[in-house]
Amino acid sequence: MITLRKYLKQSATYKVFSHFLIEFANFLDTLGKIAQMGMHVFKSICKGEIRKKELLVQCDRFGVSSLPITLSIVGMTSIIVASQVAHEMVKQGGGNFVGLLMTMLIVREVGAIMSGFAITSMIGSSLASELATMRVTEQVDAIDVLNVDSVSYLFVPRVLSGAIMMPFVVILASVVGVILGAVTADMFGGLPYRAYFDSAWLGLYMKDLGVCLLKAMTFGATIALISCTCGYFASGGAKGVGLATNKAVVWSFIAIVILDMVFAVLFFF
């Protein structure tokens, strides 16, 4: 006779529920690992364990290699937004505020968030797959056996380079975005450049620039930390590398949106 317990174990509801619990446990596990690695990196930086040569290599990777795709994505987003609003605002008599709207939008949100997505897809994924490959080919174990702190060695230059280079990338991307917005407003709405740039600075305060830079630093460090953590704890060969990369991208995207929301509430609410 089938018992109630056995029946429940075989039911679809039980399987769905148990799968949900496993996923939730995995979520907490990943969150814990990211926090643990973050603390380790912070301690290493406080102790001055910064490898300058490797930091420069990672800065080049984070800031220079990612520029084409970051500028393209932020630039194209600006073109899309400007092409949608410029014509309509000029028609409704609000042409003088197109520059203001575009600058606020780009400096406060689009510049940082779109750069974050671009950096995640380009640099975050490569950081995760690099560390995951090192893990599955026992290179990380080799670092540990040689008595070198593998977290400090691998994470610190990558996380620091994210925090240092992301603000530069975001500033550059925002400048490109504002300029392309002006070009688009002129082409689609017939708005003169002068009218655009006259209003562009009206709604922009030092606070906006400060928050933008702080946000960029936080995004850069977070993307690097999450990507490195996902790669560092990878297991299981080629499939494991793929899963770690996938996880790094998904977690970084979610983290960017959550952090952006936190910044919006903290500074602009």
């Binding site: 080919t137 026992e138 174990d141 080799a142 540990d144 056996v145 040689l146 070198v148 060695y153």
Partner: protein
Amino acid sequence: MSIEVKNLIKKFDEKTVINDISFKVNDGEILAIVGFSGSGKSTVLKLICGLIPYDSGEVITSDGDIAMVFQYSALFDSLNVADNISFALHERKDLRKKYKENEIRDIVSQKLELVGLKGIENKFPSELSGGMQKRVSFARAIVTNPNTILYDEPTAGLDPMSSTLIEDYIVSLKHEINAASIVVTHQMSTITRTADRVIMLYDGKIVFEGTPEELLKQETPYTKQFVTASLEGPMQMQA
């Protein structure tokens, strides 16, 4: 005494992978750990060098470094041979300021010469053959003059001549630095050419302990099955 393992137990989830094993390895001695795949050989090495924590028991090593030569070399593919070998000298807190750059270069050349690979300092691991990569990983392992060296399947995947070369290096390193060495392998040539003593693992337990000659005599069902590579016997491969 250089390594002593006492009543070591390691479980992964519910499965006991290492089940109460004890052994000793003296300075200048090579112990071979043999057994079929999945018998827990590599796990023992990882427990000894601290890569994975054990559940109970004790690993006692005399003061000094433990080095490990990995099955697939585990060379850092973004660094050239010289940087691979000098990695610990550049990156370890206690060694970072001990040597000047020219001293490090000399040490690297000396270690490369020891494994018969002079003049390849600027090559990258991808430019080397499997056997050369393995020898570079030997050089990297011994750069800090360790008193314990662990070899994880050092001749796996190599052609017979490269295997012989590697086996000779294992023996010559024993004489050179008088380290206690553990070689995990299932290749008979590696056992007979390098080991002073052999232990055989099955199902996480030691089922044989003796010399390579005693292993070859096939006096127990375990040694008989291992040496003849028979499917019939007390050791069953997991499907």
